[in-house]
Symmetry: C2
Subunit: 250 residues, 2 copies
């Protein structure tokens, strides 16, 4: 049987139980769980391509993947089958036949992440590992202003964890804003791509500004330094969600 169909799947998942997306030996990952479901449903083991590696404990409001298959099961039935076989913390939101050349990672033209901070006096038991629980004062107006210094095309080496194998650290940030909704403070950032731990270091830097460890106008200097040691800490994965994934023409 030739794998003549290319299936594009949009999922949403709570990452608390997973060691990120990518298959690992001896650790449960979303890719592993999804590939197992594909095999159960289609009878074939397909190689599932994801739009992004996500770290252990990171969540996704929207995550796109694709796989090729010879299965003749219609897309709408595949959706029902996946939602039946997948665990409750992963949901298939949309599934469709797409161009044979579509690749969830290589065709991706941009992504938006959101980092959620619970800024109440006491922790929110319903957001355990679903938000950073942080009870020091946060001035969202100040942080929103500072976040605008991330905008534009820059070498973001200062916002990349050591150990990354990526060579070109230039990325274009098209949107970066901090909003408050009651006790929930959210940092939204969109770019054509993200370096390893980039959003978590951006958040650590904003918290460093809030705590007076980094000057209000420090982000531009940190970017220019290209030196990881000048940026803030890598904040916990708890609050990080891949929020949107962009493709051209689809």
């Amino acid at each position: 049987m030739s794998e003549n169909r290319n299936i594009k799947v949009t999922i949403q998942y709570d990452g608390r139980n997973y060691h990120g997306w990518q298959v690992q030996a001896n650790a449960l990952t979303v890719q592993q769980v999804f590939q197992d479901a594909v095999e159960k449903i289609t009878g074939q083991r397909s190689d599932v391509k994801g739009c992004s590696r996500t770290d252990s404990g990171v969540h996704a409001n929207m995550y796109v993947l694709n796989f090729k298959t010879a299965s003749k099961i219609p897309a709408e039935k595949l959706k029902l089958a996946f939602n039946h076989y997948l665990p409750q913390d992963i949901a298939v939101k949309e599934i469709c036949d797409t161009d044979y050349d579509f690749h969830a990672r290589y065709c991706c033209t941009g992504k938006e992440y959101v980092y959620k901070i619970w800024n109440g006096n006491t922790r929110n038991p319903f957001l355990n590992q679903l938000a950073l629980q942080y009870n020091r004062t946060l001035d969202e107006t100040l942080l929103n202003k500072c976040a605008s210094d991330f905008l534009g095309t820059h070498d973001f080496s200062a916002f990349c964890s050591v150990g990354s194998s990526v060579i070109d650290n230039v990325r274009t940030v098209s949107s970066a804003r901090v909003v408050r909704n009651g006790d929930l403070v959210e940092f939204y950032v969109s770019a054509d791509g993200f370096l390893y731990n980039m959003v978590r270091i951006m958040v650590g830097t904003l918290l460093g500004i809030s705590e007076g460890k980094i000057p209000h106008d420090g982000i531009k200097d940190i970017i220019n330094s290209k030196d990881r040691s000048y940026a803030g800490i890598t904040s916990k994965p708890d609050g990080l969600y891949l929020n949107r994934v962009f493709y051209d023409n689809i």
Copy 2:
């Protein structure tokens, strides 16, 4: 040491890991966990009184308890200590010294519950066991109108699970409304007290109306019948939250 202080505590908890409030042999309960924390912090085992028994898997946005102690630790330090020792799915929101006669259950004059229904096309992985996941059409305007038939003072025997030992089944419902916020439909109900499984049977009845199994104007007849078999099913505990607890003068 005489237990000369009466401590009132307002907590919030995610009930997924607990077999309800009340201590049970061989099952983890919120009361058990709280009593263990009291003993760890004060060095004394106190009898902790809760405002309500809640079923296994039910949550609380607000739950009030009290305990008597000889401890001299100030209330604000107790709050920090409890939030340190309690698991992440329970949070102490408020703690204060109260009248020696205050009893969380006997002094309670009313409660509000909310039942959350995720009414999206596909499940919400972040609300697993935190809402009823229900994908059939719900008309919140119709259901809100029907819910108003719960208002007033009635014998709610038809909305009480068999096996309850309560003798007087008359309760006064002061508020009952259905609201939609996007894909989330919520049923809010306040009363001076609730019978065993009363809110879950009310919700099962509203869903029965929505599914055409019970007529739109059926709630009054069901109340009048005093017969459990005429009401809808007992809906799952997943979506149920004790939302507010009322006391006179405090």
